[in-house]
């Protein structure tokens, strides 16, 4: 399994609107409050972060219920966190209200989370790369650059947007390199406006996980997948009889769905799959019910069982415009040339976010480690195990268990 990327892109506002917003102190205090409570445990903080990503995902699937959608909730939280560092006034307030935390008080914690996710302990290749590409002529505020580097390990590069093609090339080359070739052609030159674009913010996330218990290639066979359009497709599917944590539950409206945890080598990262129990239940009926809290509750309902898992082998890439979903969630000012306030990024120029989008890629394959002795020893009996057959649209989550960060989530309507 291999996955990747988020990228966002800011552009310079027209010089006419100069914003001078002053935030009432009590509002800032309200926003800052959760940070005090979260000082010592990374989980609630990362869950807040991932929850925004999940909310963004919910917004996206509303408009594209039948597409394959992949986002990185953690990547979205990181991008918004970087923006929050540079924002002031109501622009910052909207971001902090939505995210439910103020990045300023939580730099250390966020830094620790980001480090834990890319830690070698995971044994999965997780690469998180953040970069800011800034027009040579722009004067950046030094504290912002330093904080970004410290908290988000965000590098700053100088490019000249005056020639969109070469700026594009260097950004794409960087993204491709950072994601080990997984994300190619991130930007196209027509997204860069030689006169207006002053800064491009990229957040790339790449993950190549090896299953804790590999799928045997000889067991991969073509099987029928009934896609969201109701048509049947023959797709290669991985198969494995092994010991997995699984369970089932229902939404408040009484729609049942099953879930299973497929751990990756190293045990800190898992893929969770949710599948409606009845093929007549559309994915869209259970998505609004999904949150970090819901997914946490699965943990207590899961039991280890020998299960025959059938899962599509697939690669999916999606590029999603995050502007509309974020606006729908109340983050509006930062997109407005007249209202956006990024004074902490640059005092000399009036910045606003003209575009923010994310590109993510996932590959699911057989690769992994051999089954552990404990698993193998109890998998020799020849009774028929229960099946977990992912042969219709499903949701997946790639979670970093120690921090609770959702590195990726997606809906697959047709592998």
């Amino acid at each position: 399994m291999e996955i990747a990327v988020l990228m966002s892109d800011y552009r310079l506002a027209m010089p006419e609107g100069t914003m001078t917003w002053h935030i009432p102190c009590f509002l800032l205090a309200t926003v800052a409050l959760p940070s005090a409570c979260l000082q010592f445990n990374p989980r609630p903080l990362e869950e807040l972060g991932s929850d925004i990503g999940i909310q963004v995902f919910n917004q996206i699937v509303k408009s594209q219920p039948r597409d394959n959608i992949i986002v990185s909730p953690h990547g979205i939280a990181s991008a918004l966190g970087m923006l929050q560092l540079g924002a002031s006034g109501r622009t910052k307030l909207q971001l902090a209200m939505m995210m439910k935390y103020n990045v300023n008080g939580l730099g250390k914690m966020l830094k620790r989370i980001n480090k834990a996710i890319v830690s070698k302990k995971n044994k999965d290749v997780v690469t998180m790369a953040n970069a800011m590409f800034v027009e040579k002529s722009s004067k950046l505020e030094a504290p912002f650059v330093a904080r970004n580097k410290d908290v988000f390990q965000c590098k700053v590069w100088n490019v000249s947007f005056e020639s969109p093609a070469s700026a594009c090339d260097s950004i794409n080359a960087w993204a491709k390199n950072e994601t080990r070739g997984m994300i190619d052609n991130l930007l196209s030159p027509d997204l860069i406006n030689s006169a207006l674009t002053k800064m491009v913010l990229v957040n790339a996330l790449y993950f190549k996980g090896l299953w804790k218990s590999r799928f045997r290639p000889e067991n991969t066979k073509k099987r029928t997948f009934v896609a969201a359009d109701g048509k049947s497709y023959q797709v290669p599917m991985l198969a494995q009889l092994s010991l997995f944590q699984s369970g089932s539950t229902s939404t408040p409206s009484g729609l049942w769905y099953n879930f299973i945890e497929l751990p990756y080598h190293g045990d800190s990262i898992s893929m969770l799959i949710a599948l409606p129990s009845e093929s007549s239940t559309p994915l869209s009926a259970i998505i609004p019910h999904i949150s970090t809290k819901t997914i946490d509750s699965w943990k207590s309902m899961m039991v280890p069982k020998r299960v025959q898992v059938i899962l599509p082998k697939f690669t999916a890439v999606t590029q999603t415009d995050l502007k509309e979903p974020l606006k729908a969630l109340g983050i509006v000012d930062m997109f407005d040339p007249l209202k956006a306030n990024f004074a902490k990024i640059s005092r000399s120029e009036n910045l606003h976010v003209s575009q923010i989008f994310q590109k993510a890629k996932i590959e699911v394959s057989e690769d992994g480690t051999r089954a552990s002795a404990v698993t193998a020893a109890i998998l020799i009996a020849r009774s028929s195990p229960p099946w977990f057959i992912v042969d219709r649209p499903f949701l997946f989550f790639i979670r970093h268990n120690p921090t609770g960060a959702f590195l990726f989530m997606g809906q697959i309507n047709k592998p």
Binding site: N219, Q240, Q308, A377, I378, R382
Partner: protein, 344 residues
């Protein structure tokens, strides 16, 4: 629950009956046995080899269903009793959720010949601990007796002393997977496969080839193997509890119960079965009316270690290590004896 009964007189009685039956059978010969037998008679015999069976060909084969899903096979051994594998009944399952389907051919088709019973009692062997352990045998009492028909008939239980020769062609049947992780396709007709018996010793030898020390598999005293050294044809998930039926004197005997195996059909990993004859007294203890049958004389069993010998020759390093001391020991003794004489 296991009931304690005054066994002594009854056991004697059983032995007497068995002896009588044995004499009776050997006098009558094969045809006579078939005519008189209340078990092990199939309406048609046929060469098998990984194919769909004919309806009624294995009338003792039953499907054990849990919560509406086929989980295991089983064998009808009397009007009210079915023999299966202990691992088909994990502790967390509810007895009430089990059903036994008899006289079925295609699992997905409904025919008037098919009967379904709930389960009144499940007796698991107490020595069964985990997958691959001893005692993978279970007795099920049906909620009500079944009437035998062309499609529903019991198989014979072999007596404790019964021994079936290595290489005997037996048949394993079931509705299990047709390959690892590949389920039988609808309408799921009963599958049959001819497999030769392999001795426990040879099977242990085979399972030691390329064995992972972390995953030891040993063939216990109450197990027997059947299948092919080269692999490819074997029982698989969903066949557990089902019969390994062997012919003797014109009747079919339940020689083994599908139990376990390393994957399915892997080379040097034949299927492992619970050896029914080693549980003859356990069966009789729990169900007095179940009478194991003494076999007519079968041909002498020939050693089959040659099935594993190619590998023995190749992997002879440890054997040579042993050979050394064995040869050296007599030599040392001889020298020891000679030593005092040399002193002179």
């Amino acid at each position: 629950m296991a009931q304690k009964a005054g066994l002594e007189p009854r056991q004697l009685e059983a032995v007497a009956i068995l002896l009588l039956l044995g004499i009776f059978q050997s006098e009558l010969g094969a045809d006579g046995a078939r005519a008189e037998a209340s078990c092990g008679v199939a309406s048609q015999a046929r060469i098998t080899g990984g194919s769909s069976a004919a309806p009624g060909q294995w009338p003792w084969q039953v499907s054990i269903i849990y919560d509406g899903i086929h989980v295991c096979g089983g064998s009808l051994v009397s009007e009210q009793w079915v023999l299966s594998a202990a691992h088909c009944f994990p502790r967390e399952h509810y007895k009430e959720e089990y059903e036994v389907k008899l006289g079925a051919h295609q699992l997905d088709a409904y025919t008037p010949e098919t009967e379904v019973r709930t389960v009144a009692q499940i007796i698991l062997h107490t020595s069964y601990r985990h997958e691959g352990s001893q005692g993978d045998i279970a007795l099920l009492r049906l909620s009500s007796p079944i009437t035998f028909s062309r499609y529903i008939r019991p198989i014979c239980l072999p007596a404790a002393n019964a021994s079936f020769p290595n290489g005997l062609q037996c048949t394993v049947t079931g509705w299990g997977h047709v390959a690892p992780s590949v389920s039988l396709q609808a309408p799921r007709p009963l599958q049959q496969l001819e497999v030769p018996l392999i001795s426990r010793e040879t099977c242990n030898c085979l399972y030691n080839i390329n064995a992972k020390p972390s995953e030891p598999h040993s063939i216990q005293q109450d197990m027997v193997c059947a299948g092919y050294v080269k692999g490819g044809m074997d029982a698989c998930q969903g066949d557990s509890g089902g019969p390994l039926s062997c012919p003797a004197g014109g009747l079919w005997y339940l020689v083994g119960i599908v139990s376990w195996g390393d994957a399915c059909g892997a080379p040097n990993r034949p299927g492992v079965y619970t050896l029914t004859s080693s549980y003859a007294s356990w069966i009789h203890h729990h169900v007095a009316e179940l009478q194991p049958r003494v076999l007519p004389q079968l041909q002498e069993s020939q050693p089959d270690i040659n099935l594993c010998s190619n590998h023995l020759a190749l992997n002879s390093a440890p054997a040579q290590g042993l050979l050394g001391p064995i040869l050296l020991l007599p030599l040392a003794l001889t020298l020891g004896l000679l030593y005092p004489w040399w002193e002179y």
